[in-house]
């Protein structure tokens, strides 16, 4: 069974069809990538999978369970985590607290218990703190633990968002343009980090414009164009596909 599967997924915005009858399956394990020209529907696909948008038609399954009707937070509790194209850190919190918030689905979230300082919650707090510190170290941000997110540089925020997503121990990690806006060195660091995450057993799907990064990292690539599947396969197969070349060169849309 696929970890993630979408069937006949369609989404309209007004008169515009952003995603058109898409079928796509993500197997457990390797690094997957979704590519395509601007406006191809990549981020729409992510937002549909995450539950930010409601599909016009189609179904979404996680581990065989139909989640189409579930709200975002319930899908996240099933082990779906993501980063955002335009960064959505908690600016009012420190680096450490940002990551600790990622632990939410594994922690006791009772308000009453928290107010009365129940021992179970204090214990979970200590364990959570330690886990969050490990995760900050994992992404190389130990030094930023106590800094407020609003005071962090862009490259740091990118990695902090990944650490926060990892804290939820996702089965599937979706990264929306993890390398966008980064310089060559930082891209190298993100590349290494994604490999490390995948090696630790998390399935990764990423949307990315940097072809070099994608071709290096991904084992399976889905190419979207105008909301439709253009091609799918290994980097070599995708690269050899004439339809893909046409789409990227911006010709041949008349048909």
């Amino acid at each position: 069974m696929s970890l993630l599967e979408v069937r006949g997924l369609t989404r309209d915005f007004g008169g515009l069809r952003a995603l058109d009858d898409l079928g796509y399956a993500v197997a457990r394990g390797p690094i997957h990538a979704v590519i395509g020209p601007n406006g191809a529907g990549k981020t729409t696909l992510f937002n549909l999978i995450a539950g930010i948008y409601v599909p016009t038609a189609g179904r979404i399954l996680i581990d065989g369970q139909d989640v189409t009707a579930l709200p975002t937070w319930r899908r996240a509790r099933l082990g779906l985590a993501r980063s955002f194209q335009n960064l959505q850190l908690f600016e009012n919190m420190s680096g450490l607290d940002n990551v600790r918030t990622g632990l939410h689905r594994h922690e006791p979230a009772s308000l009453l218990g928290a107010m009365l300082a129940w021992p179970a919650i204090r214990r979970a707090e200590r364990a959570g703190r330690k886990r969050a510190e490990e995760l900050l170290a994992f992404v190389g941000l130990e030094a930023w633990a106590e800094v407020m997110a609003e005071a962090m540089p862009y490259g740091v925020l990118k990695r902090l968002e990944i650490a926060r997503a990892l804290a939820s121990e996702p089965r599937l990690l979706m990264l929306d343009e993890p390398a966008a806006g980064l310089n060559a060195t930082e891209k190298g660091e993100i590349d290494g980090l994604i490999r490390k995450v995948a090696a630790a057993g998390t399935t990764v799907v990423l949307v990315e414009h940097d072809m070099k990064l994608v071709m290096n990292l991904a084992e399976r690539i889905l190419v979207l164009d105008h909301g439709r599947r253009l091609a799918e396969g290994t980097p070599a197969e995708v690269r050899a596909d004439p339809a893909v070349a046409r789409a990227y060169l911006g010709t041949g849309h008349a048909a």
Binding site: W73, A76, R82, T101, H104, S110, L111, A114, E125, S168
Partner: protein
């Protein structure tokens, strides 16, 4: 963690030491009212300061907390504690019932909806003359536990002080917990909080209900202490006063809002000599503080202090 307890210890020390500096009944009365307002603000701060959801209607909960137990005792001869429990239950239920639809709103729309709710409650209290005595208010019986009547400044000083310290302890425990981080997270980014498995709508409701209960309890205590209550306690300006205390002292700073409550309760007392100028001065101070210290008094001063220490 350490700093959280430091603040609590400081507050407890102030509560314990203050009676030595209070010269007369009137001083005690002001101190008690500061404590009761601060209790409202500690709860309201969970909603406004931490969860980032504004409410311009919390005086409604304060007023209901005052009126419902008072009426149950007065009209139905209920036992004080039972009436208090019923009053808090009513406040909690109302808050719970309205929270979900109202808290879907954001920014000015949320402000308007909470304001509307508050005004409707205040109008009902004002108009139901037979029940509440209308604008003239109603007298409230002293709180009774068996044959013991809780009366007088000395008694209520310690009840208020103890409740405030307890209320701050509970709030700070909450802030420093998974649930507390969930509240701060939905303030920072709702979509990111949802994406981490946080039930944003659910946590907003919980924060709203808890802050309403703080206000309701403080309202009940105020009515029992003063043995009198008027609809002004439930009115729009009272709601504004609570929000101003929170913002003035410093949002997301529990000790800050206590300071905010103290300042805004003291100010009118200090201005009584200039009775005619009271509103003028109050308005000017509010505007000035918000323009020059938008983060609130305590956080702004704390930042100054940190900078000063770093330089020397």
């Amino acid at each position: 963690m350490a700093s959280r307890h430091r603040g609590l210890v400081l507050l407890a020390a102030v509560v314990l030491a203050l009676p030595w500096f209070l010269a007369n009944k009137f001083h005690f009365q002001v101190a008690i009212l500061i404590g009761l307002n601060a209790l409202v603000c500690v709860g309201l701060n969970l909603l406004i300061g931490y969860a980032g959801q504004i409410s311009l209607g919390h005086a409604a909960f304060f007023g209901l907390g005052a009126y419902v137990p008072a009426l149950l005792v007065d009209k139905l001869r209920w036992d004080s504690s039972l009436a208090l429990a019923a009053g808090l239950a009513a406040v909690g239920l109302l808050a719970f019932a309205v929270a979900r639809p109202i808290l879907r709103l954001k920014g000015h729309y949320l402000a308007m909806a909470t304001l509307g709710l508050g005004i409707i409650v205040a109008i009902v209290i004002n108009r139901e003359l037979d029940l509440t005595g209308g604008p003239d208010g109603m007298s409230v019986r002293a709180y009774r536990i068996g044959d013991l009547r809780l009366r007088g400044e000395w008694t209520w000083y310690w009840i208020t002080g103890g409740t405030l310290v307890l209320g701050v302890w509970l709030a700070q425990n909450l802030i420093d917990s998974p649930a507390g981080r969930a509240l701060r997270a939905l303030h920072g980014s709702e979509v990111a909080a949802e994406s981490l498995g946080i039930d944003v709508a659910g946590f907003k409701v919980k924060a709203f209900v808890i802050s309403a209960l703080y206000a309701g309890l403080a309202g009940a205590m105020t009515a029992h202490f003063l043995q009198f209550v008027t609809p002004i306690e439930a009115g729009f300006l009272r709601s504004i006063e609570f929000v101003t205390m929170v913002v003035l002292g410093g949002m997301a700073s529990t000790l800050g809002v206590v300071v905010g409550a103290a300042i805004l309760t003291l100010l009118p007392q200090l201005l009584t000599g200039f009775h005619d100028y009271e509103h003028l001065v109050l308005g000017a101070i509010l505007m000035g503080m918000m323009i020059f210290l938008p983060k609130g008094l305590v956080p702004s001063l704390a930042a100054l202090w940190t900078r000063w220490r770093a330089q020397s």
